[in-house]
Amino acid sequence: MKLNDFLCKKSEWLKASGPKSNVAISTRARVARNVAGHLYFNRADNTERKRTLQTLVSAVKKTKMLKKSLYLPINDLSKLDRNFLVERQLMSREHMVDVEHKGLVVEENEIVSLMLNEEDHLRIQVIQSGFSIMDTWRILDEIDTELANYVSFDYSDKFGYLTSCPTNTGTGLRASVMLHLPILSMTGQIENVFNAISKLGLTMRGFYGEDTEAAGDFFQISNQVALGHSEMDVLDNLERILNKIIIREEASRKELFLKKKEEISDRIFRSYGTLKSARIITSSETIKLLSSIRLGIDLGLIKDISIEKVNEVLLCMQPAHLQKINGREISPYERDVKRADLIREKLVKK
């Protein structure tokens, strides 16, 4: 398997096959781990970083769960390829800098990825379609446990898993769900959500936005606390709260559609028309319009486009993907043209 194979494949989390895919796009969870007896990345020189990388790579090779995975030394990748991996949510932006002795392991369905020598020696990530917190944790827990057979992680009885940044100390776990909340956002209820969750140990931020304002009503909600609560407590808390938010969004969709049928239909079909006809389009406009389409599908107004297709376009219309698909570097203006081409191709052609 090579990096470019991912271009022709669909990431598992795009498939809209998970629970509540009408509102929840994907569920992601990661744990932070460090190799016992090794200096942390920020403190390690090149020899130490190399030693850590080798320890981890050989541990990964011994696992059964990661047999079918691709190992990528970040240093060997072009800038474009690194951006491509970030857009696919397989690694963080931080993993793109200071790249010597950094590595990435990607499992063939892109459900599991491992960042080696990021801020912590190891970040294990699992990403799944829809709203499936417990299932995502189950996979993550299994891989973490299997890896621990081959490498000793830094752990203290008092503080739990030891991490470079104290915000991760304890479980090292951060779980997040990406939600599409167009109606809570339109009706201003999102403010209440913001306020409420920050009091409950969760945090929320806009997603896909290039500005601080979240474009297209996509929000990522995650836990903040890693110490003093077990993984199950933290995840259960997150699941219960998100469930309430999802139910509220669904109910508000129905309610508002009954009250303002023409207004909402108008907005959705105008978005549909623009996306299918545009010849030049920016990424932020695309996100806003796709948000309307996604809502239109859930309300039963749009029948010839699937949620899976919308998810796919959201991914592929990003700069690095457009350039990889076209096989060359493209200027920002030309990207807007190529983006419009890609959208018409994906949405109009059957």
Partner: protein, 168 residues
């Protein structure tokens, strides 16, 4: 308390700014604090804001504070002062070296300083026990030497230390 910048989210970072001898207190949410720290990134970062949580400890004298800040981690050589500047620890042993200060910081971040989650199946724990066993053996050897030399004061101290380690 609401964030002073966006007025929307709960303020979790509290910042005192001194500009031309004028003191301004800012209460920010995490996002606005991040934006603000980006603004001042060349000399000020979120890492510093974060470690600022334990900067102030009136019960400790200046001399004591200086000493605390210059204690070096025996494994990676990091001082608590370094940690305050970077917001990142240098190795697992830092957690033992700065245990008290970190406990205080972790309580402020997480509301707790004790892990209750997953225990690794075969990990650092075994490694640590091995280290402990080894050091206990070394200490016991040292103890018999002290007894032979009749240095009882030191021996009593060491005996208690071994007892502590064995109880852990």
């Amino acid at each position: 308390m609401r964030c002073n910048i966006c007025g929307r989210r709960e303020a979790t970072v509290h910042l005192t700014e001194v500009v031309n001898e004028k003191v301004t207190k800012l209460h920010l949410c995490e996002e606005c604090a991040k934006a603000k720290s980006d603004e001042m990134q060349s000399h000020f970062g979120l890492a510093e804001l974060l470690s600022g949580l334990v900067d102030f400890n009136p019960s400790v004298s200046d001399g004591q504070l200086k000493k605390n800040l210059t204690t070096k981690c025996p494994v990676c050589g990091m001082t608590y002062y370094d940690f305050q500047n970077t917001g990142r620890l240098g190795c697992g042993t830092c957690y033992e070296t700065f245990s008290d200060k970190l406990s205080e910081l972790l309580k402020k971040i997480h509301g707790a300083d004790r892990h209750t989650g997953k225990v690794p199946y075969r990990t650092a724990k075994t490694a640590k026990t091995v280290v402990n066993e080894k050091s206990i053996k070394d200490l016991k050897d040292e103890l018999s030497e002290l007894v032979i030399k009749e240095e009882f004061e030191k021996a009593v101290f060491l005996r208690d230390k071994i007892k502590d380690l064995e109880e852990k």
